[in-house]
Symmetry: C2
Subunit: 174 residues, 2 copies
């Protein structure tokens, strides 16, 4: 049972698929990214189809959302009608892109709804114990979300420093 490169690759693709699924993305998306990531050259849609075992339709849509997230890049060759896809290798850039994408997402809408709850509580204020209690709790949650958000932005802003350097600095702090 020789450990061939293609075997190792297959296992890697499998691993990224699971990670993808864990993060709430289709596992096919992870597979597509993995295949592109391990390829030295950009791949056409049909090559991705071949290497992942998915159908053209699935690859077409999923590679597009990957592109929207900035995790892959689409390119073309002159005199060739095919599109070619390559994995983004700068993960910090990808994160930044994903966070931007997130701004318009269902998620941010939901987070905003917490903020909105707060406003409604303020605008229809009734001075009693329960109202006060609810207000304090919702406010605390909203502040937490804000804190996370600011932290993420701060880290992204320091991208050029390198994530591990940022970590080192933090570790010195206390």
């Amino acid at each position: 049972m020789a450990t061939t490169l293609s075997q190792i690759k297959r296992d890697f693709v499998e691993g990224l698929s699971q990670i993808s699924r864990f993060w709430g993305f289709p596992k096919g998306m992870g597979a597509i990214f993995a295949v592109l990531y391990l390829s030295p050259t950009a791949l056409s849609l049909d090559e991705i189809v071949e290497r992942t075992g998915l159908t053209k339709g699935a690859v077409s849509t999923e590679v597009r959302t990957l592109a929207r997230m900035g995790l892959v890049h689409r390119s073309t060759k002159l005199g060739d009608r095919k599109d070619y896809y390559a994995a983004e290798t700068d993960f910090y850039a990808a994160i930044r892109s994903i966070l931007q994408e997130r701004q318009n997402s269902e998620f941010d809408h939901a987070v905003r709804s917490v903020k909105e709850t707060l406003t409604r509580l303020e605008e229809n204020w009734v001075e009693n114990e329960e109202w006060n209690f609810v207000y304090e709790r919702v406010k605390a949650l909203q502040e937490f979300f804000d804190a996370i958000d600011s932290l993420a932005k701060a880290v992204i802003r320091l991208e050029s420093l390198g994530l591990s350097n940022v970590t080192k600095i933090l570790n010195v702090l206390k």
Copy 2:
């Protein structure tokens, strides 16, 4: 159309449900947490059932995973056979707890599989261009995961400083 407290609460519960779903948790889990979070007193399983509209079975299992994640706490009253549940209000503590929980999870297993790919590449080394290429790529990914992990740990370690203070410090850096 008066904006009553119970209306506001319902909307809040709805909001957290969506957030929960976005993060890949059942939306019922979000609803349960929200209900507990807005309650000044700990609630029994049946009270949660009543306020969320879920069944006892669903609440039983989901409240348990919430407890495992450290997002709610189970308690009992003397001379009362019921269990009572209350929301954790220290979110930083909750995050820490979730990250610990994660150690044993399917996710970490998957992340470890990347590390494992790397080892296999090293152990069966073949000196050629492709092998080298794949190795470099996998290594970069593994280092990225490591960096994220260290960063998370560093932030958690600074919990007592307050998340927003950490953010402030980071913002001064550059």
